[in-house]
Amino acid sequence: MLAGAMEQKNKIHPHKFTLWVGIGSILMMFAGLTSAYIIKRNQVNWETFELPVAFWWSTGAILASSITLFLALRSFKERQVHRYRMLLISTLVLGLLFIVLQIVGFANIWAQGITFTGSVSYSFLYTIVGLHALHVLGGIIALIVMLFKAYSAKVRNYSVVPVELINTYWHFVDILWIYLLAFLIFIR
């Protein structure tokens, strides 16, 4: 029931606003975890760790995916359907690549003895990176839905809002990853 919103132009779309508040909420969850990490780090028995190289590759993948998704939005606005579809697929592939590289990274450090239950610091590493990957997976599911819509002949809705929503969310998980990476590098 968006009639109320339609009656008032000039205002941010309610779904976009909801997403922003939701992003604030997700941020607080990570703030909780990272501040718990900082408190725990200052106590005894803290083991440091090296991040796997795969995390750098995954960073490249998610940065690239943000660019492709941004371009997809632009193509959508310019009504270039074919390009829009291709860019959406590229984003999806890069997103999946990100997840795969995170799993590869986990496998590498696990082999080095950095296991989930090995030390509290390792548990934090797996929890924080894992939760972030789950949020990327949520974005991937949304991308798949968008892709179905982009190929469905039945959908004749040219609203730009969903494309903008997925853009905002995707850039958010991208920036969140950069923050978490920097956090895990500098605060060990």
Binding site: G4, Q8, L33, L131
Partner: protein, 599 residues
């Protein structure tokens, strides 16, 4: 009324029929998987009432043990089976009762039941929106709450019983299944239920914030919002920012329990067996828990503050005193709420310097609280007060808030708290200021908005009886507990007769228990009144029975999905123009007259 200021005519005429013929609703879409904010609000309210009956009954059961520790009651064994062998509640079940009483009342009744009911019902109606920003998310919010309820209720039927480590579920007790019967499956279901509950709260909160900031009708500037809506906005912001932190804490606890991590565990020996967990900190959980846990008490009390502000103004026929100060103090409470969590942890070995900062921030809360109390009293001062059940409960709220709030100044002071921590003094404090006060506000809200919800009135006589029993009962139950706390009587003990120093409270405990049972019985009057009035109450004939200014009273008596017939009315003024320029009340939809004085 000297000149006529009637309900606005933007709705055309009083129209009682369901106007939303555009989408025909089946029974399932109308009453069960409804996306109408009003129906979702009723779902929250009725689920909340059922939870309150269960949670209240638990308190009656453990009060029987506390009041009559040396007696047996065979009927208890008939009802509870092995939990009350020989007619006496077992210690394990006593702890489960205490834990579940706290969990149910704090989260399921006074968070979901309260915010879920009034935010859902009032936000769209009072800001002038046809529904929430996302009715779908709103529906999901209720069903996540329902799922959380099912999980939590199912834990009551486990062989080992529900969670029994206190509603704060501190590790290591909560993190180790072998620690006690209540730390087994019951604890897992508690955590699972809470995770679902948090999702429900977040979905609700997102919707409330977006709807308030984004979907107000024409002319409804922020300074024209009723204080109910302001209060619900701050409540939702607090919830959205703090519940995720509890989620983090709960997640780590689940990992500790089930996956072998050691976030909260270190150097633990159970029955001579040394556990492998090392490097964790139980205090870390307390930080994460109370970062939500303290704002949580404001999530409970803020909506009620809004409701009471609105009701006091309406029933004393006076504008609210200090509107902006009310909003400002809500904001100040909201900020301070997030900065005081460690005052629950003064006895954890917290650095006394850090403690002193938390003392300062905690005592600062007295300032906005005092502003609000002053403003409520000045609002009703020399007003033309109508003593209905709604206004009596609102005044009762102020009384409870003062009585309970003053003891908060004692407890917020670390030097005194070290003596009073975990005694009955704390129980008395938070039950009065947060528990009973919130219930009073909730009752006030239900009596006041019932005509809008169901198109019928609740019975006044039953309402008055309910009020007096509850007011006297609440004070008789909780006032004596202050003295027990001063004497050092600790909370959560099963039987105080084992300590020579607490034997003198045997009679007092018996008195408290008897009053608790009577007060619980008095609540049944409310429940009977509520359900009876839904179907048999006196019908509402006037769209604006309380002669109030806010927008919900400009809708038809029983509004359909979409709330207003035709256009949504435009707003021209704030909602508190009572007894102004010779008018008893001037609805928000009435344009400002040329020579009208400013408020």
């Amino acid at each position: 009324m000297s000149s006529v200021v009637t309900a606005p005519d933007t709705t055309g005429h009083v129209h009682d029929a369901h106007h939303d013929h555009a989408h025909q609703e089946s029974f399932i879409t109308k009453y069960i998987f409804s996306q109408d904010h009003k129906m979702i609000s009723k779902q929250f309210l009725i689920t909340g009432i059922i939870w309150a009956m269960i949670g209240g009954l638990f308190s009656v059961l453990f009060r029987i043990q506390l009041g009559f520790p040396n007696e047996t009651f065979p009927f208890l064994e008939d009802i509870l089976g092995h939990w009350a062998k020989g007619g006496k509640i077992s210690p394990e079940f006593y702890y489960a009762l205490v834990t579940m009483h706290g969990t149910i009342l704090v989260f399921f009744v006074l968070t979901a039941g309260l915010s879920g009911t009034f935010s859902n019902f009032l936000i769209p109606l009072q800001v002038g929106a046809r529904d929430m920003a996302s009715p779908m998310l709103n529906m999901l919010s209720y069903w996540f709450f329902f799922a959380a309820s099912v999980v939590m209720i199912s834990s009551l039927f486990l062989q080992t019983g529900p969670a029994a480590g206190g509603w704060t579920v501190y590790p290591p007790l909560s993190a180790l299944g072998d620690a006690s019967p209540g730390s087994r499956m019951g604890m897992d279901l508690w955590l699972g239920g809470m995770a679902l509950f948090i999702v429900s709260s977040l979905l609700g909160g997102l919707n409330y914030i977006t709807t308030i900031l984004n979907m107000r009708t024409k002319g409804m500037s922020m300074t024209r919002l009723p204080l109910t809506v302001w209060a619900m906005l701050f409540t939702a912001v607090l919830g959205v920012l703090t519940f995720p932190v509890l989620f983090s804490g709960v997640l780590l606890l689940l990992f500790d329990r089930n996956l072998g991590t050691s976030f909260y565990l270190s150097d633990i020996v159970i029955a001579g067996k040394i556990l492998p967990n090392e490097g964790g900190s139980a205090i870390l959980f307390q930080h994460l828990f109370w970062f939500l846990g303290h704002p949580e008490v404001y999530i409970i009390i803020l909506p009620v503050m809004g409701v009471v502000s609105e009701i006091l103004s309406i029933y004393s026929r006076k504008p609210i005193f200090g509107y902006l100060a009310m909003v400002g103090s809500l904001f100040a409470i909201c900020i301070l709420a997030c900065l005081v969590w460690a005052h629950h942890m003064f006895v954890t070995g917290l650095n006394p310097f850090v403690g002193s900062i938390f003392v300062l921030l905690t005592l600062l809360i007295a300032v906005p609280s005092a502003i609000k109390t002053f403003n409520w009293l000045t609002t009703i001062w020399r007003g033309n007060i109508r003593f209905t059940p709604a206004s009596l409960f609102a005044i009762g709220f102020v009384s409870m808030f003062i009585s309970g709030g003053l003891t908060g100044i004692f407890l917020g002071n670390s030097a005194i708290d070290i003596h009073l921590h975990d005694t009955y003094f704390g129980i008395a404090h938070f039950h009065l200021v947060m528990g009973v006060a919130a219930f009073f506000g909730m009752f006030a809200g239900v009596y006041h908005w019932f005509p809008k919800m169901y198109g019928r009135y609740m019975n006044n006589t039953l309402g008055y009886i309910h009020f007096w029993f509850t007011l006297v009962g609440a004070y008789c139950i909780f006032w004596p507990m202050h003295y027990e706390g001063f004497a050092g009587m600790p909370r959560r003990y099963y039987d105080y007769q084992n300590w020579e120093s607490f034997k003198m409270f045997g009679g007092l405990n018996e008195f408290i228990s008897i009053v608790a049972i009577i007060t619980y019985a008095a609540q049944l009057l409310f429940v009977i009144n509520f359900f009876y009035s839904i179907w048999k109450g006196r019908r509402v004939k006037d769209t604006n029975p309380w002669k109030a200014n806010t927008l919900e009273w400009t809708t038809p008596i029983k509004p359909g999905h979409g709330n207003w017939v035709g256009e949504i009315p435009e707003v021209h003024r704030w909602p508190y123009d009572y007894s102004k320029d010779g008018h008893d009340f001037i609805p928000q939809t009435t344009p400002i007259g040329k020579d009208e004085s400013s408020h």
